[in-house]
Symmetry: D2
Subunit: 287 residues, 4 copies
């Protein structure tokens, strides 16, 4: 039976790795702080001391790191993932990184004879736990097919999007739409409130019609309770809006709505809501 | 058995009146062009020659006119609805009008001893036919309760929102959110296209996640086919965006996202897409 | 020698009427609160008890009222200006009103055989005192020519723009450009401040180049001193931005920059700066 | 007498270098394409074959290159400026570069014992020829004092702004204000035109009031003649708007007006006006 590697056991990574172990896959794990690994050993995982140890001993290694800097460091650092990559080995980076970082890692991996797939996900903590992420893969098609049985335990939908970079771009665009939906939704809630309407009535009306969606239902109720517990940090949403607007710049696509939404997220950031949920943009809009 | 009146047999009104007749209610109808009425006589409706004839012979009369001007004319014109209003008679205006028109009609009706309810709807042709409209009622609470059995045949959800004017405001806010969602969605589709991504992939990803909603699913597919057949005319959406922004002005609520969306709809209007579906804003965004 | 009428002795009106008196014109004045008139009697003015008394005794009457409601009331109210209008008499409304109010007053005046000119001004208290207003006239061309000697004492430039309504539109557009210049200027100042640059250096650089203008020079220095003493009230600027955006709506001209500026002025208004100078939008932008 | 170096004889650089020669300074020039140098030899300049030859033979060398890439290459390339930098030699980079490039060049120069000043300019071809540029210097204070006699022949105003990076930031902010002014101005012109007003009347009114500025006067007349001959290319303005918005992002300053203006420049770019004057944003706004 195949041995799979998993680098990064943060909120997302640990939920995803557990789903692989639960499904019966043989997994070697590594995490920057080793304490996290004990729990996984108890679930049957092999524990490695360095990223290189993982990649050199597994046919396919998945990385799920916090940000582009971490993804870069785990790959290129001393005893990093790249050192263990050899001919034919697969490296699947599921971290959310920009296209340039994905391309740099991809080029390094293929330069050593390995195969590379970027596979950022749409969905946060809950879908990671439930195995209902949406996986946006791009790069080596054969590696995508090989990783599909694992993807199917971590996500409910996996798309293969073409050359490296397209996974990151798709994710940016999806998040841009999400951010724009959130700002217009919050403007609606703030306006209803100022008009003396019940926000719960607005939520009911929206939920009964063609716009009904789980995000408005969940976040609308939470905003009503002034609950901004972080599922997706506002600063990350603002960063994605910024990058999406920059992508529009690069491709010559004007984005008036996205850039207005971006400025609202910036205002929320400058008002101190960076680490709250991205729905906290409501406070910047309503104030 | 109670006799109910119905004024206006346009696209919306005729579908709604048919649902009342199908449900077994006794209905007297009137329409500006009388030819439309024959079809309803065949379904068992009584046909009246003037609005006044309807209101004077029915305990509750529903009006569903094309716009504020028509709603105003049918009420206040010669042999208009107001002439037939007597003590205790109910007038339910389901047309989409501004708060000022609703208040003017309401004051006139109650001035003659009648009772008034504004009840604009959310939903267009298909929900009108299917009896799945969302009804946003405000005004006389007793009349709301009395009209509820009729509302239940025309809509799937009926809200009572308080004093006259709030129905119109709720509808504006709902449409504002809808317009804002459409512009950010179209920006996402246009950006994906310029990035060389398949729009169908973007639709799949959105549809698999927390943003999934019937509007994106339906309109996304139609935009992909360059089908802008009119369900909700773009010029009406732009008018609602404008009125919602004006409501924000009146109430002191800044609306950066809504006003950016409004300008995109204006651009679409100035490019000649006024009478196409509001999703035709895509063409103004992508060009 | 011709007798001229002057209705309205507020901040603007009193400065303008004084310039006429100083130039030797024979002027009959009226003001809603009569106490204001004593000062003008001392300067040689005739004082009238009602607007009608003014218009019936003067060949040309100038009105300078606070807003459209006041302009309307002084014209149409009991013993109002309209009552004294007879064949050939001229009525020059220099108040800032919307096109509809100007047209209504104009039609009433010409309906009684009088001649009408709308002539809103660009410039506030200081230019009114200095006789350096810019006068945007539209309507009766002969009346324009007749009023020109008076205009030349109140303003430094007088334009004849055509049919009634165009004066108001020109003023709106000019104020829209002014409001938009102010928001981008304030964004520049706020950004410079956050970057650790001296705002006075930014002002110096702008003042040395092709963008140099008296408004930036004056307002920039005042903003640096947190001096928002009212020359042009923020709420009036926001109203003009709103009307300009509405004009764009009516004419099919998208105005992305103007509408973003409008929302910033709205935010300033909702933060309580309505009655401060319009440069107080800086506080809404920098906070 | 001191020998000064000058690298880069493009549109800007050649005008600036000529002003130095005219003023009697001893100048050694270098340009990538050597043909350009003949003209300067005729004016008394020494011609060098490489940037290193210039920096090694001059106490202070000025660089005026087309963009960050060129500024980088001329400094770090083979036989580049850096090779000739020795203890105490001054390097004044007047190219428009981002803060990061300025800092990289500055660090390299000081690393070799040299002194560094960034000194981007505000103003384009005409002010360069007339010696009326505005010079935004930052870095080594002593070098600023030493270069001041040269600055005074190239510009009419020279500011010392502090540490390296602040010159580039000031220039970005100034250009951001300029871009925002241009978009609201063009919206005003487009709206006036749609309203049937003469654009020349709008220009006259603006020019008579507190907003009067040379840019509106010059560009307004040119726009009226559909003359978009390039003084400052639209693509460079859009790049500066983008960088300014990014600076706001970094510093937590929301910039709703600047980002709306940026999107209008992007639209103009995507419509093919990249290489025309930045006033060509009018065509994207009016269409």
């Amino acid at each position: 039976m195949e041995q799979y590697g998993f680098l990064g056991l943060g909120i997302m990574g640990s939920a995803m790795a557990k789903n692989l172990l639960k499904a019966g896959f043989k997994v070697t794990v590594w995490n920057r702080s080793q304490e996290k690994c004990a729990e996984f050993a108890a679930l049957g995982a092999t524990v490695a001391a360095t990223p290189a140890e993982v990649t050199s001993s597994c046919s396919v290694t998945i990385a799920m790191l916090a940000d582009p800097a971490a993804a870069h460091a785990v790959c290129f650092g001393p005893e990093g993932a790249l050192e263990g990559i050899g001919a034919g080995r697969g490296y699947v980076d599921m971290s959310t990184v920009d296209a340039a970082t994905a391309q740099e890692i991809g080029a390094a991996v293929t330069g050593k004879g390995g195969r590379f797939l970027e596979a950022p996900v749409s969905g946060s903590k809950k879908p990671a736990e439930d195995g209902t992420l949406i996986i946006l893969a791009a790069g080596d098609r054969g590696l995508f097919d090989q990783a599909l049985p694992l993807f199917e335990k971590m996500g409910k939908k996996s798309l293969y999007l073409g050359e490296v970079g397209r996974g990151a771009q798709m994710k940016l665009i999806v998040n841009m739409v999400m951010g724009g939906m959130m700002t217009i939704f919050c403007e609606g809630l703030a306006l209803a409130d100022k008009a003396g309407l019940e926000c719960s009535d607005l939520l009911d009306v929206i939920d009964a019609g063609a716009m009904a969606n789980p995000m408005f239902k969940l976040k609308g109720a939470q905003i009503g309770q002034e609950n901004f517990a972080t599922a997706f940090p506002l600063k990350h949403m603002q960063k994605d809006m910024r990058l999406a607007v920059a992508l529009g710049d690069q491709l010559g696509q004007p984005l008036f709505s996205a850039s207005a939404a971006n400025e609202s997220f910036k205002r929320a950031r400058s008002q101190g809501f960076s680490d709250q949920d991205f729905s906290a943009v409501f406070k910047a809009i309503a104030s």
